[in-house]
Symmetry: C2
Subunit: 285 residues, 2 copies
Amino acid sequence: MSFKTTATISSFGGKLLKLTHNASTTGCEMALNLYLPPQATANRKVPVLFYLSGLTCTGDNCAEKGFFQYGASQKGIAVVYPDTSPRGLKIQGEDDAYDFGTGAGFYIDATAAPWSTNYKMESYITSELPKALYAAFPELDSSRVSITGHSMGGHGALTLFLKNPGMYKSVSAFAPISNPINAPWGQKAFKGYLGDNQEEWKKHDATELIKKWKGKFNALIDVGTGDNFYKQKQLLPENFAEAAKSSGNDKELTLRYQEGYDHSYYFISTFSTDHVNHAAKYLFE
Amino acid sequence: MSFKTTATISSFGGKLLKLTHNASTTGCEMALNLYLPPQATANRKVPVLFYLSGLTCTGDNCAEKGFFQYGASQKGIAVVYPDTSPRGLKIQGEDDAYDFGTGAGFYIDATAAPWSTNYKMESYITSELPKALYAAFPELDSSRVSITGHSMGGHGALTLFLKNPGMYKSVSAFAPISNPINAPWGQKAFKGYLGDNQEEWKKHDATELIKKWKGKFNALIDVGTGDNFYKQKQLLPENFAEAAKSSGNDKELTLRYQEGYDHSYYFISTFSTDHVNHAAKYLFE
């Protein structure tokens, strides 16, 4: 479970650690980035924000282009940037498409062969990775954790929050895949990872999950109106908003449509400080 | 001279334009990025900051990873991210090395064949490109212009400022190649582009130029102490500082050694807002 630190990079007054470890859930070496803000010391624990990346990304893209470190260094929050799937397993078909297999784990535990052996990203993100991190880095406060993500990672953030009451203090998302059972990306992934039973798919769909949610739902969601995937109805945030409203879970939901913004890291970087501040509100309350 | 806009991307409340144009100085199509902050309108001109990139980069790297748009949107400054050389000319040897030819124009006008026909980056940056931009974008204020850059682009920023009194209101640099005639990168480039006469080289060396400078020299320079190229003596900022001091040009020079920072965009993004603010001080005075 122990981590290998392959690089330590100064960033916004803190340190970005490039880490690898052998993960048992995914059965392979996993790489990630961990940002420790300047406030993190042996004697002072800092809260933790998980950032889940979108299709095709690794933990590197957002660490380089998302500028979460800027806000995180101001607030004193550690940021974890995990990878988006197992890698290098040589499963037949894993590299055939950008939206399935490598780089496209969808933050669920696959139940259909051949994916079910290694594609356990839900267990990895919610259990193995945080446990390993909290054991290895005592400056991380395991009792104060929030989650955010982009696109497929926005789906991951919303669903892992809704599936694990109490695990995260808050949730936010950039251009999340909000209703995957009704969108091409989600349907392809869920069919491949979960099989044909669409009742099983619903357990991993944010719009379905919010309908049954009881409790606080303090979420910030940003979607760009110039986002081609939004226009192509891959994201469907309006379905999620409607389900949140009809179930009375929209009281603390802020869904912002950002005029003209696209799906890229230019969009994420513009609003990442808002998302850090959103998390900080609950991590420091 | 007119520009083609290949993309318009929302970023920090403004627009990042991806542009191409046919440049006569370099004899090829040149690509660049132009950031127009939200303050730029047809009726309100904004000052301009040129950012010159380092070896191997295009205008894209810093637009994605440098975080300049954040500060520029706060201050109301346009940022120009030019390319680092002509491209695609099929000159023999142009793609043989990362530190000469393509991606390595060094912001000088070559005088040695075969480079002297197209490698005219000094004329491109100081004359053709700004003229074309000011003609095409009336929201840019041609009377308020500053310059900055990284590594090879830091050399470009310092030397173009010192060779063109009055052209730029201020200058700053990240990890600049400060004394190229005494460093391997500079010696290779100057020999290739300028020939064997080392007296000619001195005309393009910031440390030589500052010795003869008369006037204000309001410069901010950041260098990371963990920068391997600094350690390998490719940058030599200490030679520049010594020359500035001995010539009495260090009164408004701020040279900061940033503990532990490397040569990457993680370093640039951490301090880019300081450099925007430095330029703003003189662009808005």
